[in-house]
């Protein structure tokens, strides 16, 4: 398997994972993947990377930070403590 083909594929991987490539390109990629273990691992792990990030817990704004923001903006009278 030509190294060039793998490198070419690498550029297309995000559009491929995001479903943004044409049917022709998609078929080409899948053909290559069926022959190339390297690229298959690459796709699997890239997809997993995206998945892990999309599903990771998001940091929250701490309550005191929120309170200080209200204060800074002169909006203290509108501050409502967050129900926990």
């Amino acid at each position: 398997m030509g190294h060039d083909e793998c490198r070419h594929l690498l550029d297309e991987l995000s559009p491929y994972l995001d479903g943004e490539v044409s049917e022709t390109v998609c078929a080409e990629i899948e053909q290559h993947l069926s022959d190339c273990e390297n690229c298959r691992v690459m796709v699997d792990t890239l997809r997993k990377t995206v998945y892990l990030y999309r599903n990771m817990p998001q940091p929250e704004m701490p309550e005191q930070v929120r309170e200080r923001l209200y204060k800074k903006l002169d909006l203290t009278e509108f501050f409502l403590p967050q129900a926990s």
Binding site: H3, C6, R7, L10, D11, L13, S14, P15, E37, N38, R40, V41, M42, D44, T45, L46, R47, K48, T49, V50, L52, Y53, R54, M56, P57, Q58, P59, E60, M61, P62, V65, R66, R68, L69, Y70, K72, L73, D74, L75, E77, F78, F79
Partner: protein, 198 residues
């Protein structure tokens, strides 16, 4: 945006100096602004400053908001600019490695072959992994980082991200792709290391 009030109404009220509307705006968008600031600034104190500056600037310049992009996108843009201003302030102690990274150099095919994607699910759910994921974002080169955050973590579309960053949609796509590849490499190193019995 809640059903109770449209973005247009909210803007109108903020423009008229309605403080309750300003407070509502914080409730709607404060957390997302804070998250972006935190991931760009890498510490809570600076993130808080950036967030405060973002809302101060937003309310001050609300008349300049044209509504081409949504209010949320506009706030991201202000926050991003505020963060960049701070990060670019020259400091004798920090040296930005971002500038030295050649972001347009051709991609190289990684040699990393371990297929860690199918490890047991519990291996991904530890707090250590979560911390590693978060730390890795913060180590991404700046331009890749912000594109990755907006697209992948904040769920903006390509066009919204482009509007927030003032770059083309194509550039967003490239940066997102490079960001993903960069993070994949890091995670590969991490999970390979985890497999070595010690």
């Amino acid at each position: 945006m809640s059903d109770a009030i449209t973005e247009e109404d909210l803007l109108e009220r903020i423009r008229n100096g309605d403080q309750a509307a300003c407070a509502l705006c914080i409730e709607l968008y404060g957390t997302q602004v804070y998250r972006l600031a935190l991931r760009l600034m890498k510490n809570e104190a600076d993130a808080e400053d950036v967030m405060q500056e973002t809302f101060l600037n937003a309310y001050k310049s609300i008349d300049k908001f044209e509504g081409r992009s949504g209010l949320s996108t506009w706030l991201y843009r202000i926050a991003y600019n505020a963060a960049m201003m701070r990060l670019r302030r020259p400091s004798p102690y920090t040296l930005s490695i971002d500038e030295t990274l050649q972001q347009d150099s051709p991609l190289t095919v990684p040699k990393q072959l371990f297929d860690w994607c199918c490890l047991p699910e519990k291996d991904f759910e530890t707090s250590e992994v979560r911390e590693f994921l978060e730390e890795s974002i913060q180590e991404l080169p700046e331009k890749l980082r912000v594109a990755f955050i907006l697209r992948e973590l904040e769920g903006l579309s390509t066009q919204e991200s482009a509007d927030a960053l003032g770059i083309s949609a194509d550039a967003v796509k490239k940066r997102l792709h490079r960001g993903r590849l960069w993070l994949r490499e890091r995670l590969s190193d991490y999970f390979v290391e985890q497999q070595i019995p010690g």
